[in-house]
Every structure is written in structure tokens, then in C-alpha cells.
Symmetry: C2
Subunit: 312 residues, 2 copies
Amino acid sequence: MSLTVVGSVAFDALETPFGKREKLLGGAGTHFALSSSFFTDVRVIGVVGNDFTENEWAVFKRHNINTDDIEVVADGKTFFWRGRYDYDLNTAHTLETQLNVFETFQPKPSEESKNSRLLFLANILPMLQKEVREQCPKAEFVAMDTMNFWIDSMKDAVIETVKVVDCVIINDAEARQLADEPNIHKAAKKIMSWGPKALVIKRGEYGAALFTKDEYFAVPAYPLESVFDPTGAGDTFAGGFMGYLASQAEITNDTLRRAMIYGSVMASFNVEEFGTERVDRLTHDEINERFRAYKRMTHFEEIPFERANSAT
Amino acid sequence: MSLTVVGSVAFDALETPFGKREKLLGGAGTHFALSSSFFTDVRVIGVVGNDFTENEWAVFKRHNINTDDIEVVADGKTFFWRGRYDYDLNTAHTLETQLNVFETFQPKPSEESKNSRLLFLANILPMLQKEVREQCPKAEFVAMDTMNFWIDSMKDAVIETVKVVDCVIINDAEARQLADEPNIHKAAKKIMSWGPKALVIKRGEYGAALFTKDEYFAVPAYPLESVFDPTGAGDTFAGGFMGYLASQAEITNDTLRRAMIYGSVMASFNVEEFGTERVDRLTHDEINERFRAYKRMTHFEEIPFERANSAT
């Protein structure tokens, strides 16, 4: 197997200005796996309860996502999150969180998962992320996400995990908070000084940026006139990013750049409808069409300015 | 003459976390003219008081900026602004504004200004912007700026000016406010429905975006580890943008895209030091070097994804 993700598999309940849903398939592991499945073979390490039905498993099956490492707790309930978005769709307001089976989640990677070439540590307890990383020593390229909650409550543990990964994928507020530095370029330098050779900063409606040792690469967000449900956009980005990298024989600055575009493309589809609905029925043609649109919206001819009669 | 700007010429007093200055040459007209002077011949329509000294005039002279249309009011004082930036350099806190001679400013374009091919209406009273535009009927390409203050107090007058220009250059909060629409892409459509064929949205540390009838183009901000003084960044952007366009025989989607890059390049230099200090001693080599850096930080190879053994 080429890509493994450890992360939540969940049910979400959502209210947005555009509608309401009581039970959507969600969770970081789900959004990541679904997105990456368009590019590579993917396995999920996670846990669900007895309320997880054939309808949910069918989404994974449809996309050939390997679920052997998703533990089913017979007397437990699946992680549940209820949230609300107002017209400013940038901020999720949490109304209710039931950790349920996720509370005592102990990831148990199978031999197949341990042999994965790429590994993504979605947003879970930083100590668990580190454990999983150490259980998969053969992984060539390991990326992690995290969130403000862990940075607030156990920053040292987050940094210990950062030290053992190749790439950190977080949003700009988290990067500033993690580095304790308001300037994002200084913050990036500090985070990379702890070990990672790549840092991806997600900027919501402003796109995303990639920092590597020698290069800086920035991509805008895809222009959308309506964002329906931003839940899972970050994990869908990470899924497109890591999925594309897994499909390539070598991870270079060039493949990382294209991975940034594919991540942005996948995230742009994710937010167009509720939950996993849009990505679930996506096609490769649609993905490639939006990839080409990215080229059009960022391309310019490199013609240096020459002034015939210079005033200065 | 190829480019004329109408706008403020001012003295600024500034406090930032990096230092303090009591008297800096400033004003939208100044920053715009200085920036555009690297690309084309430029004239300023403005007004100053008797406190404007040889030191200030020398900056204009050094860059061959034509100041014939800057009126000197013998018994008046130059527009003065005192502001403060905290560590969040995105927001200017106004401490003091003395309009002085600017309060009764009546732009008086000379015949030469009226014959300008391009015209920039910097942020002044919208009715004055419209008057100047109408006094320059031969201008091929007219752009305008505005600010939240005018949108709050006289939105209709702002819209009347928008209707008679070819291009609007504003920041994203102003665009949302002007269109009364939170989604920036819908806001852009609405503003362009009033007449302009181009709309530039300035996004501070997130770069800038260009909307034309058929295209969307987005550029990141140049990565800077320290921003010293953001005053005038928007006008410096507009100066690079309009200055570059004025240097080109035709204004096309391609030249507009490069103009976006030159605008971003000039703004990135402006914020590196206080007031006009950095741009004042800029060279064409430095400008072109940063233009090339823009290519490196946005370029990716267009290779559509093909999956040998598609799972979907």
C-alpha cells in the first residue's frame, strides 16, 4: 500500500446559512482518504461504533479505500460533532462534541499500514501521532496536521511530533501560534528548524503556501461564488496533496508544487456541497479540468521591464 | 504625457514597533507617482502648503515626476496624518488628521494632464474623482481607488464614479462593503456590472487578485520577513500597476497580468522601510529581480494526473 492515514471517522451534524443536515459522514480520516483515493491506494487507521452502517462503509468501498484498520467497537458509538457556520463561512462554531469511541482510540497499524510509503497523521492527540509515526519507520514521507486546541494545551508534545515528520500541514493561525511569531515567513522558518523539510500553510479563501528549504510557492484558492460547507476542506486538501505525491515515483520540489495544486483542487470541490457529497461523485476529468484552470489563473509571461529612456 | 494621478501629497508622522518618525513625505499621490515613475512619465495633480520644502520637491525631481499641477497655497499647510501601527501591521490606527490645504482642494488639470493616456484617481472625495475623470475625456484607461470612509458616508457617489472608470483598485473589505456582498467573487461581479472592465482586489499579506470580463488572476504577496511600514503600499501597488500599463502600447489581459506583478513588486519594496525611503533609491535591476522571483514562486508544470489503474 502506498498511503496510510490515521485520523477520525465521524458523524457530523451541520447548520449553515444554506441548509441543515443531521447525520453526515465526516471526520479527518474520512475526508483525507476519500480525496487521496483519486490518486492512489489508501488505508485508514481509525475507530467507529456500532452505529456505522452499510451506507457509510459503501462510501469507502466505492473508492477502494482499505478499511481493515478501522476498528469497530461493538458497544460504542461513533465520534459525533455538531457545528454551525454563519455567513462568514471561515469559522466553525462547535455546538456539541461527543468523542464516544474516539476518546480511548489506540491506533493499531497492521503490517500493511506499517509498510506504507507515505503516512498522514491527521489531527489527533500529538502523542498518538508520534506513536504511529514510530510504528511506521519505513515511511518515506510523513505529514501531520494539528489544531489550536493541542497547541494551547500541550505545545511541547506537538513540537515533539513535528520533529519526527517530513511535512507539516496547518493553517496560518496555527503556524503563528505554534511558532509564537506573528510574521508567517519567520514562523515557517522556526517550524522548519525543528526538522520538517516542507511546511504547508493553509489560508482558507486566500489559498495555500508551501515552504521548503530553498523555495517558496504560493497558490490562490479556486474562485468559488458559493461555499456551501467548509467542513473537511483542510483534510481534503491534505488528501489531494499526499495522494498525488504517493502517485509519483519521486518527491521533488516540482511534484510538491503540483501536489499543492491538486490539494487545492480537491478542497475546492469539497466545499461545494455538504460533507463528502461532492467529492464522492467526482471524476478525474473534473479534477484535471480544474487543475488546468489553476494554470490559467496563475500564469504570466516573464518579460522583464526595460525603459528606453530611464528617468532613474 | 502618458500617466497622470490626482491625489494627496502629505506629511505623515508614524509610530510602529520598529521606530518613530515625525515628518515623512507621504500621501497617495506621492506614493503612486514615485512608484509609477520607474515605468513611465508621470504628472501629479495635488496641493501643498508653504511648509513643503526643497527636500520634498527634490524627491519628485529626482524621479522626473512632473509637479506643474501641484498647487502651492502660500498661506496654508500641507495635509498631515499621524498614525500608529501595532505588531499587527495590517491595521493603521489614525491618531491625528489635519486636512489643511487639502480640505478645499479643487483639482485643476492642465492641458497636458488632460491629454494623459492613463489616469489614476487616488482616494479623494468621489465627486472630485468624477470631475477629474470628466475633464480628461481622452484618457484611454482610467483607474480609481476609494476607502471605507466614502463608502460609509456616500456610497452612491462612489458608485457614480465607478461607472465612469475602466478599473477599480480597492482592498477586499472595501469591495465587500461597496457591493454589500460577503463573497468576493460575487462582489466583484456586481462591481463590474456597474461599468469597469477590470477590478483589482488588494489583499495585503495575501497578495492581490485581478478580475476581468473572462479571466481571474491571483498573485501572492512577496514573502517578507519584516514589514516595516505599510503606509502607501496600496498606492505604490497602483503606481507599479498603472505605470507598467502606461509603458505598454496596448492594454490586454496579458499586460494587465504583468502589471499585477509589477504592482506587487513595487508594494513589496515600499513596506521595507519608512515612507518613500526604499522606493526612492530603487533600481530597475532590483525591480526585475523581484519580478523573476514572482515567476519562481508561482510557477508549476501543467501535467494532468493519469491513474494507470483507476479506482473510480
